[in-house]
Subunit: 361 residues, 2 copies
Amino acid sequence: MTTPHGEVETPVFMPVGTVATVKAVPQDVLDELGVQILLNNTYHLYLRPGVEQVRKLGGVQRFMAWDKPILTDSGGFQVFSLSELRKVTEEGVAFKSHLDGSAHFFSPEKSLEAEIGLGADIIMAFDECTEYPAERDRAQESMEMTARWAKRSKDYFEGYKRQTPWFERKSVEKGSEQTQALFGIVQGGMYADLRRESAQRTVEIGFDGYAIGGLSVGEPREKTWDMVEATIPLLPNDKPRYVMGVGAPEEIVQYASMGVDMMDCVLPTRAARHGLLFTSEGKLNIKNARYALDEGPLDPNCRCNVCARYSRAYLRHLYAAKEVLAQVLNTVHNLAYYLDTMRRVRQAIKVGELASFRSAV
Amino acid sequence: MTTPHGEVETPVFMPVGTVATVKAVPQDVLDELGVQILLNNTYHLYLRPGVEQVRKLGGVQRFMAWDKPILTDSGGFQVFSLSELRKVTEEGVAFKSHLDGSAHFFSPEKSLEAEIGLGADIIMAFDECTEYPAERDRAQESMEMTARWAKRSKDYFEGYKRQTPWFERKSVEKGSEQTQALFGIVQGGMYADLRRESAQRTVEIGFDGYAIGGLSVGEPREKTWDMVEATIPLLPNDKPRYVMGVGAPEEIVQYASMGVDMMDCVLPTRAARHGLLFTSEGKLNIKNARYALDEGPLDPNCRCNVCARYSRAYLRHLYAAKEVLAQVLNTVHNLAYYLDTMRRVRQAIKVGELASFRSAV
């Protein structure tokens, strides 16, 4: 996948850099870990430090000193999950900031305006993330509004491009004619036929890539598989296909084997901050007293700098003492584990052995 | 200065690694910054994870995966500054943990036992840090008790060495005949003659190095200078001389020019976590709104990785958003600034230009 900030080898896992930082991890460590592309949250950056400030500072890449690609979401998911007192109308979503209660309004046009201002390589259409559970009627209405919002997102973006010569566009890559890529989002709740209809309508509008949203919202895992399986075949395979907000390590392998090119998830970073670590031997809770005198590494099969240097006993101590370094080191390890998993998926695909790799995970 | 874990080039600044971590900074970054020796707090390690645990894990160096020298303080200062309901007698200090209120007792023997168990390269005699202000009588009594405690510390350490063949000692450097070094501490409040008496009595007992304690406890800076100036000439110049708990960047240059070999201070690390940054252009408060759109580095004359990569605007954003990365990056810069200052002091001493360097700081 080609972006203004370089090539991304897929399938790829995108760490979540909420407010222009992957919590607790410096950018040079992300480089060392082999991170190819980061996700940033439009909602968070819009509230703080604000789109205009990031734009003035040359866009989000330059702002956070990260010269590889960045994808921004539309803000839709955070508006639905974090903000209070939201009111959804055909026009868009009125909401109050989770930080200070101030009133804001996102519409497809407002969200796109923000994403253009932030200047990431890949930007997302504004969608409504359907809650779970949702009755069929509700899921259908929501999916249909997402389809209309997708059209408005595309129209706004095309209008912006028509009215703004490339050399005046707010894209960060100064002097590059390549524009931001706009992805559409498929919704439809947990109804396979609605998912298929949503995919069809989104593809008809035409985007640079396609995402499957509204998953991992509380449904049983099998439903998630079913929805991805129902949707993927309807998305063009010459465009990137992105499943949003998933998942556990074994799941990202599963999705990759279903043809998914891109995934993001807060799980490795958020779990790390709670002392939950992913290893080749399963999940490990570093709080556990059994590690108090354990001189072994977190994961004997991991080649990350944390496993090379520190013992479980030390990491447990840092966590118990609520030391910031616990967050740093735990996050580095979990990201290393995810990125290494995805690296091995890519290798397995290259040598045609993904099926056997998948069953071994 | 030779230690079981290698040579330390003096004058040296020791970052404070409170509870076996320099808050927010991974050990590989400390390596990159050129940290030669770390201070660890016996009080904190004694409470959590406990001396016996660190000893079983091979000593504090191995525990925290830091293969360069470590110095542990005696716990005296933290008992006086952090703990509640302390009761000082000739025997020692009864105190309650600041963590859970549990009751503990430190004496010269108990403190040395803990420091031997932790196994750092340099350990400190147990002293009483005289409060400021203190009447002359009080300062004298306190200094005299410190002298008696110094003797008991030395006796305990010598007894331990006599009774324990070197190959069974708890020193971390397994297979090394070189033992831990024990430093004595000069007290005496803000009375030059008491300081001189304390120095004389401490030197009479005989230690591997000498520290000046009880400074930076609230007194005006000139008094600190006066006390160091009164004491230094009485300490043997073929042994390391260590001023504890100082100071601002211009002060550490000053102390170095007075013949001080070692210093430690929480200032660079603690200030960093509060957004206060030391630069060649003076102190900088990253919270300040004037930096919101400032694309420049923290310090244009600094060659640390933080200044090479990130803008003031980004660092301000991280701080305002209470992001952990703010603590990491700010601490790295402040430590780089301190270590670079001390590196330049050593260079200036080598070429015989410390006086002119000092007046330029």
